[in-house]
């Protein structure tokens, strides 16, 4: 049999299938070329760029206030944290710091974003493994977080709440109450999450020992975030290079040593609890004062290079700005977490089954616009 003239099997008797660019489990337009021996994966080759928009090139012609908003469209599930990274980089260049109130709100919003992102991931993880119901349970809490976001930022997904020097508006008066309600709801429902997936025999069979990534490989592949922490590599930027006052907060960096899909799953589950812990510390202690530092109408960064990294829901996002003193950046590089995490996919998927490939992709938690940028 031939498909478009392509031989069914390669010379070594391998069966080649293309997963994507339109495929339910790639979570976007990712294209994986997979060489199979029966159901066993011999080789995976990611083909990227289906939604490459060259945000780096676009940013070179945008002002320092405007380029931030393009980054909401990179990792749209942690749009808020992406914005924060850019704002922090510009602040670093200007030599200013956001006022304490702005910093506190930034942290609150970032942790809410992380929670909502992990909840969406949790639902999709169940969906990828064939259990449809977790998707709805994950979305239940995510929806109430989205409502908080909507009320304060005016947007649900791409919040665009950050400006250099602080945040765009002050929080909504209802914010604290609503967040407290959300937290109460989430804490009650963690048990349901565990009941639905964590303790399930089939789920454990599908994830334990699947997609092993050793700590050395995790470091070498530049994996960050829960992907690396599942292998026991400490890499939480909030601990290593604290920003916006994360160093004053009590929270743990979650490390698991399994290195498999189950470890990565457990890291994210525990991270949600840590986020709840951070929000609980902050929610009643938002300092009074300005929410924005006074900045000039047209921002100009001095000549030089500025690098800022933050911890998004998927790992370390680095923003590298090279300035020549003009009103827009000379060169911007986004070191996106998904791009590096994806490069480890081939290593993890080798020798696994097709079903495992889906599980591995789910635990890396790929967001394709962040890979392609």
């Amino acid at each position: 049999m031939s498909l478009l003239g392509e031989p069914e099997l390669t010379e070594d008797g391998e069966f080649v299938i293309n997963i994507g660019p339109q495929h339910p489990s790639t979570h976007g337009v990712l294209h994986l070329k997979v060489w199979l021996d029966g159901e066993t994966i011999k080789k995976v080759q990611p083909h990227l760029g289906y939604i490459h928009r060259s945000i780096e090139k676009m940013s070179e012609s945008l002002s320092y206030r405007n380029f931030i908003f393009a980054t909401s469209r990179m990792d749209y599930l942690s749009a808020h944290i992406n914005n924060e990274a850019c704002a922090l980089t510009v602040e670093k260049g200007l030599g200013i710091e956001a006022p304490p109130r702005a910093q506190a709100i930034r942290i609150l919003m970032a942790e809410l974003t992380r929670l909502s992102s992990h909840q969406l991931w949790w639902g999709c993880m169940g969906l990828d493994l064939g259990a449809v119901s977790p998707f709805f349970y994950g979305f239940r809490e995510r929806e109430s977080i989205m409502e908080v976001m909507e009320e304060t930022c005016g947007a649900r997904l791409t919040q665009n709440y950050m400006v250099p020097g602080g945040i765009m508006y002050d929080i909504h008066p209802n914010f604290q109450n609503r967040v407290k309600n959300v937290l109460k709801q989430i804490k009650e429902n963690f048990k349901e999450y565990d009941d639905l997936l964590t303790g399930n025999v089939i789920f454990e069979g599908r994830t334990k020992g699947v997609g092993y990534l050793s700590p050395e490989d995790a470091i070498s592949y530049g994996c960050t975030g829960p992907t690396a922490r599942g292998s026991g590599v400490s890499c939480d930027v909030r601990k290593w290079f604290p920003y916006d006052g994360y160093d004053k907060l009590q929270f743990n960096e979650i490390l698991e040593t399994g290195g498999d899909c189950y470890a990565r799953y457990m890291v994210r589950m525990a991270e949600m609890r840590q986020s709840v812990r951070i929000i609980e510390q902050m929610i009643d202690n938002i300092p009074e004062g300005d929410f924005q530092t006074k900045t000039k109408a047209v921002l100009k960064l001095p000549k030089g290079e500025f690098y800022q990294r933050v911890e998004t829901a998927r790992g370390e996002l680095g923003v590298y700005i090279v300035s020549d003193g003009a009103a827009s950046p000379y060169r911007i590089k986004y070191r996106s977490p998904n791009f590096s995490n994806l490069s480890a996919l081939e290593h993890m998927a080798k020798g696994a089954k097709i079903g495992d490939l889906v599980a591995i992709m789910a635990t890396i938690d790929l967001v394709i616009p962040d890979v392609d940028r």
């Binding site: 760029g49 530049g222 500025f306 690098y307 060169r331 490069s343």
Partner: protein, 151 residues
């Protein structure tokens, strides 16, 4: 290691390197011929042991291209930036580091795709984002796209 100590040990290992401390991190300018050797030493030297290459990119300075490598040692917790100047803007070439850090594989392909820098001995030097038959390298400053509509 503090920045000073780092500078000292790098300077003793590579006398030809020049330093730039204006930025946040210690920047080391390396010559193209000894670049590969420097990277290998940085990775495997037990005092430096830069095991994680967290950012690899290129800057087009119109007269020349500049390769920038950000690296961190998880063990010693110090950060270093290596910069290499590529004078040949028509056909820039540099040795690959993807056997030293596996993450460089994708990042070098990205730089090849968007800047046209060829990485010698790279196992899979193809375009990663754009079409295989795309004309030009978009992130170069002299790249002109006739079809672009500016909003």
């Amino acid at each position: 290691m503090t920045t000073e100590e780092l500078k000292l040990s790098v300077a003793t290992l590579f006398p030809a390197a020049t330093f730039d401390e204006t930025g946040e991190f210690l920047n080391v300018m390396v010559n193209l011929p000894e670049f590969r050797n420097v990277m290998k030493t940085l990775r495997h030297n037990s005092e430096l042991s830069f095991d994680s290459l967290f950012c690899l990119t290129c800057i087009d300075w119109k007269t020349h291209l500049m390769m920038v490598y950000h690296m961190i040692s998880k063990q010693h917790r110090h950060v270093l930036v290596i910069k290499v100047k590529l004078d040949n803007t028509v056909k820039p070439e540099i040795e690959t580091v993807c056997d030293i850090w596996k993450t460089a594989n994708f990042h070098e392909r990205e730089v090849f795709d968007l800047f046209g820098v060829n990485f010698k001995n790279h196992p899979d030097m193809r375009r990663i984002m754009l079409d295989d038959n795309w004309d030009g390298f978009p992130l170069r400053k002299n790249y002109v796209d006739e079809n672009m509509i500016s909003l």
